[in-house]
Every structure is written in structure tokens, then in C-alpha cells.
Amino acid sequence: MLRLLLCYAIGLIFGVGIMISGMANPAKVINFFDIAGTWDPSLAFVMGGALGITALGYRFVLKRPAPKLDSVFHLPTRSDIDMPLVAGSAVFGVGWGIAGFCPGGAIPALGTGRPEVFVFIAALLAGILTAKFLRRQSRAATTA
């Protein structure tokens, strides 16, 4: 139960940060990417703040033998740059530019109750499930 409360609290800190930063506001997000038009550089400050403090914090945290509530750190170990990473990231960038929401921006925005956010999240979940299905198919095809 303590674990779930802490997860809720971590989510809440993230959600408040996303909301006040402007990451959940598509008008602001798209303007950050619109250098040739109504450019708003605010999101560079979000990235600067988030990346700076995380890089610093991780240095201390990852020196520990294990996290407080688990036996190991669940860290990705791959370092190869493969086609799914490149193509997937490109497709994500295109979708982000079209809709103005990214996943981390849209989940907190659900709490505003705006119907547009629910439309985006529904399409996002459909995309995730479709990609998982396609990946299973291609794995089955390669192992068969």
C-alpha cells in the first residue's frame, strides 16, 4: 500500500510539473517547433530543467546497490541503434507535430476533462496496441 501511495505521489509530482511547464498545452508545444512562425522557446527551459536535475540526481541514485523498494534497477542495457528505434522515433516525431500531444503531456492533461485529450489518448492506445500486434506478428514470422 505504501508502494502504491508513493507511486501516486511520484505521478502527481510529474503531472503538476507537466501542467505548469506547458508540455500539456499543444498550442505551446507546436509553437516551440514552429521556428518559422509563432515561435515560443519555453519548452527548451522544460527540457533544460528536467534533464539537468535528473542527470545530477541519477549520479547519486545509481551509485547505490539497489532502489529502496526493489531488488534491482530496471535499466535498459542495449546500445545499438537499430531500424525500429530510428523509424519509430521518426514516426513519433511526425505524430507529435501533427497532434501537439506527447504521451507524457497527454496523461496529466486527462485531468482537465477536455474531450480532445480523450480522443488523443484513445488513438494513442490504439497505436500502441497495433504496434505490439505488428511486432508479435513479425517475431512469429522470423521464428517460424
Binding site: 503538476v16 509563432t38 530543467g49
Partner: protein
């Protein structure tokens, strides 16, 4: 449409996002990535795996309410795109982050903070793709 430049609020929001990422690693040993949390929520490996993700998503979605209680106003969410654009964009984001293994929070913040080569590559690619897309949509197509 013009939006107001908010360097202090945005930087402060970024610090909170980073604080959540540090706490997630320190307590749970997990990358704070919206993609990973959502994907595991949709197809969980166990009940306990599902419950912590559900709690985290509930916390995230409580953000607007808490901001409203603290400041007296709901943060601005202005959607300058059409409904079909939300649907197509959302679907492409879902496909992309699943194959790419992460999004702005997982690759852009947590992965870059660990100096992961894959995350740095992913972030450069999705940022460039987004710049190009917004240019095409706004200045060539003119939506």
C-alpha cells in the same frame, strides 16, 4: 496562434518532472517514461505490475486538480488542431513510441540523463521529425 513565453514556469515544471524521475529511480528502480508506463498498463505482466502503473497514471491525471487548488485556475490546454489531426497524430505517436521504445520522458529526459546512445539518437530524431512536420503542416499545407 501566439503563446506567452514562460521561461520560469517552464523551468520550474521541468525541475518537478526531473524530481519525479529521480524519485522513480531511487524508490522503484524504474525509468519514468510515459510510454513504458502506459504500455505496461495496457498489457501488464502481473497484478502488482499493473497496480503501480495505475497508481502512477492516477497521480499524473490528478496534476490539473492540484494545480487548480494551489493557484485557483486550471492550466491552459489549447488544442489548435482538428479532430482528424488528433486521431491520426495520436495513432502515429502510439506506433512510433512502441517501436522506438520511448518518448520525450523516457528517452528525452531519463535516457539522455544516463547518456544512453539509443536515447540520444531517438531524441534527436523525434525532435527533428517534429520540427519538419510542424513546418510542413503550418507553412506548406497551412492548417
Amino acid at each position: 496562434m501566439e503563446t506567452t513565453f514562460t521561461p520560469y514556469l517552464s523551468f520550474g515544471g521541468g525541475l518537478l518532472i526531473g524530481t519525479a524521475a529521480i524519485l522513480s529511480m531511487a524508490l522503484l528502480g524504474r525509468i519514468m517514461g510515459a510510454t513504458g508506463i502506459l504500455a505496461g498498463f495496457l498489457t501488464p505482466s502481473s497484478m502488482s505490475d499493473w497496480s503501480w502503473r495505475a497508481a502512477m497514471i492516477a497521480g499524473m491525471a490528478s496534476g490539473p486538480l492540484v494545480v487548480m487548488l494551489l493557484t485557483g485556475s486550471v492550466p491552459d490546454v489549447t488544442v489548435p488542431v482538428t479532430l482528424p489531426m488528433l486521431v491520426v497524430g495520436g495513432f502515429l505517436v502510439g506506433i512510433g513510441v512502441t517501436f522506438g521504445g520511448g518518448c520525450t520522458s523516457g528517452h528525452g529526459v531519463c535516457g539522455m540523463a544516463r547518456m544512453s546512445v539509443r536515447s540520444i539518437a531517438a531524441t534527436v530524431i523525434f525532435m527533428l521529425a517534429c520540427f519538419a512536420t510542424v513546418y510542413v503542416v503550418r507553412h506548406l499545407v497551412g492548417v
